[in-house]
Symmetry: C2
Subunit: 342 residues, 2 copies
DNA sequence: TTGAAAGCGCTAACAG
DNA sequence: CTGTTAGCGCTTTCAA
């Protein structure tokens, strides 16, 4: 069965394709009866206009693109889930791609999506990205850019982030209120904003409760996975540190550290209370179950798409992009690994 | 900066847009020097032709669609990851959507994607789907359909599945070889092919090792999540069953059951050995870590896209779709929950 | 209120 | 080998 087109509908009803098009696009200059006749017929045969053809005139594809640094990561998967939920509700199609945290791939993907004329690009910048010309190009071409998670402050576009500093503060405060005084902190590198913010939140909490800051207690794990969590814990141990709490950079790092502590016959949370970061699925099932910071990633995804819709409105009024930073708060999920008095 | 078009390139070089187009599409009837001149210039200014416009003539969008029943599921996420890897390598764009296991949504998505003229649709059928007209329509419109995981045998298209029966056989055999003789099996409903195959694999193994089959030991959990795993274990317990092994329908169900066994002070794997299904991330981190069947989902994703490329070749030779079922084998990942002699 | 005609950017047929 | 011409299916003037 060949696909129907405007002309088929028009000749079946004995009118012109222009009129059919007008009905489909809610033009006001169409007779009520004609409108109903067209609408009925269109519904009956299940006709929808060819999107690529309409694009040629409207310059809108009703497709948005999402570029993630990685896919094997619950956080990004959930963001996709959130975006997908709202975009489907709004009859938008979502194209997904991964930069694999590689600058060249990111550039290539952006250019590819621009070429496919997506209406917007949602992007979390890759670790390697140092130049932003490709992102500026998105806006030059009149497309909407929304940055999230790993953002670049100097770019003039809406951004969505988690309030990592506050999240980290709350997590640290929770440890302190549970009696911890010697709190170890695993952070990722010195550059990522996320790592900086979490470190600052950690310090904020120490300050507030007059706990002296000890530089040695901050250990850098470039990649916060189990293996590095294990090594970092080992390092702290070998340096002979006295600790009773740990704020890890990720759930994985926390679990790696717990592994090490268990090997040393230390009891969690009695000897050392542990808080992770991310609320990955596994945190609920580890033993002990892990207290962690939930980054409300699904909500972030939903937010991203809603911001896009708002930007589209701005654009239709010929206003410039909003350049607002939307900050979502994270929640602490308290589980066994940090509740001494259970 | 407005986007360049063929005509811009052409007039900059003092030739016609046809010639430029021919170079870009690798036509042979172009002078070597002209070709090089165009190629150089195109590379310099970073021009790529507008895909929607070319579609109008070529009927190819270089976009494929993936419809998943769910997103919050490692198995499907990994399939997406696999597809994405290969599709990006081939300069294809991937659109993703979720049917939420709902028939109506699935139909709507298919029609939407057809409307957007994707070159192919990769689909795992929703639980609720009972009628396949919308899938037949995909092929009627000359688009490629590849089914995976939850497939429909009667449809004339390539299909990719895991050899669940064999996987289940291997898992059960592993339990038997570890000394289990009273093996409980949690299956999902009676209808899903997956559930049937796993049940059959379980029986195959019992047969091979002359272990009598006991109907009571097969418990149905419509949804194989933790809660139902817990309840199913409880049910077995309340019926006074003697068991020393469990083959669960999913890792979650296995973990739910383990939870229950632990409450009853039973030791895993000493009293009861447990094998899950899926190799979800959490299986590695649960206590005890869970022996499970890895469904090589990433590989499945890669396979799906490769099959699409093959189908495209068939199509270009005017041959009909292949209708072949590609079966991937699953691997057993042995961990603590099933190794008595550690 | 309607429809004829132009044109979005590209590719394919064909004439030079 | 090159370029002119004619659409692909749609939307949007503009004249009737």
């Amino acid at each position: 069965m060949k696909k129907l087109k405007l002309l088929d509908i028009a000749s079946a009803l004995g009118i012109s394709k222009t009129t059919v098009s007008k009905v489909l696009n809610n033009y006001s200059d169409v007779n009520q009866f004609t409108r109903i006749k067209v609408l009925d017929y269109v519904r009956k045969v299940g006709f929808e206009p060819n999107r690529q053809a309409s694009f040629l005139r409207t310059k809108k594809t009703k497709t948005v693109a999402l570029i993630l640094p990685r896919l094997e990561n619950d956080f990004f998967t959930k963001i996709q889930e959130g975006i997908l939920k709202v975009s489907q509700e709004n009859d938008y199609s979502l194209s997904v791609a991964t930069s694999y945290d590689c600058f060249e791939t990111e550039k290539k993907l952006v250019s590819q999506f621009l070429n496919r004329n997506v209406d917007a690009i949602f992007l979390s910048i890759s670790h390697q990205t140092i130049n932003f010309d490709h992102l500026i190009e998105i806006q030059k071409q009149g497309k909407i850019l929304v940055l999230f998670d790993k953002i670049e402050k100097t770019l003039d576009c809406p951004k969505v982030i988690i309030d990592d500093r506050k999240a980290s503060f709350i997590a640290t405060e929770h440890l302190i209120k549970n009696g911890c005084k010697q709190i170890l902190h695993f952070r990722s590198g010195y550059k990522p904003q996320i790592s900086i913010d979490r470190y600052l939140g950690y310090r904020d909490a120490l300050n507030k409760y007059n706990i002296p800051f000890d530089k040695e207690k901050v250990i850098v794990c470039e990649i916060t996975d189990e293996k590095n969590g294990f090594s970092a814990a080992k390092k702290a141990f070998e340096l002979g540190m006295k600790i009773d709490g740990l704020l890890a950079g990720s759930d994985h790092a926390a679990i790696g550290a717990i592994q090490f502590f268990k090997n040393k016959k230390l009891s969690i949370p009695k000897d050392i209370s542990v808080v992770g970061f991310g609320n990955w699925k596994l945190s609920k099932f580890s033993t002990p179950s892990l207290t962690t910071v939930d980054q409300s990633a699904i909500q972030m995804g939903e937010e991203i798409f809603k911001i896009f819709l708002e930007e589209k409105l701005l654009e239709s009024r010929d206003e410039s992009p909003s350049n607002k930073t939307h900050t979502l708060s994270a929640n602490l999920i308290v589980r066994e690994s940090s509740t001494k008095n259970l």
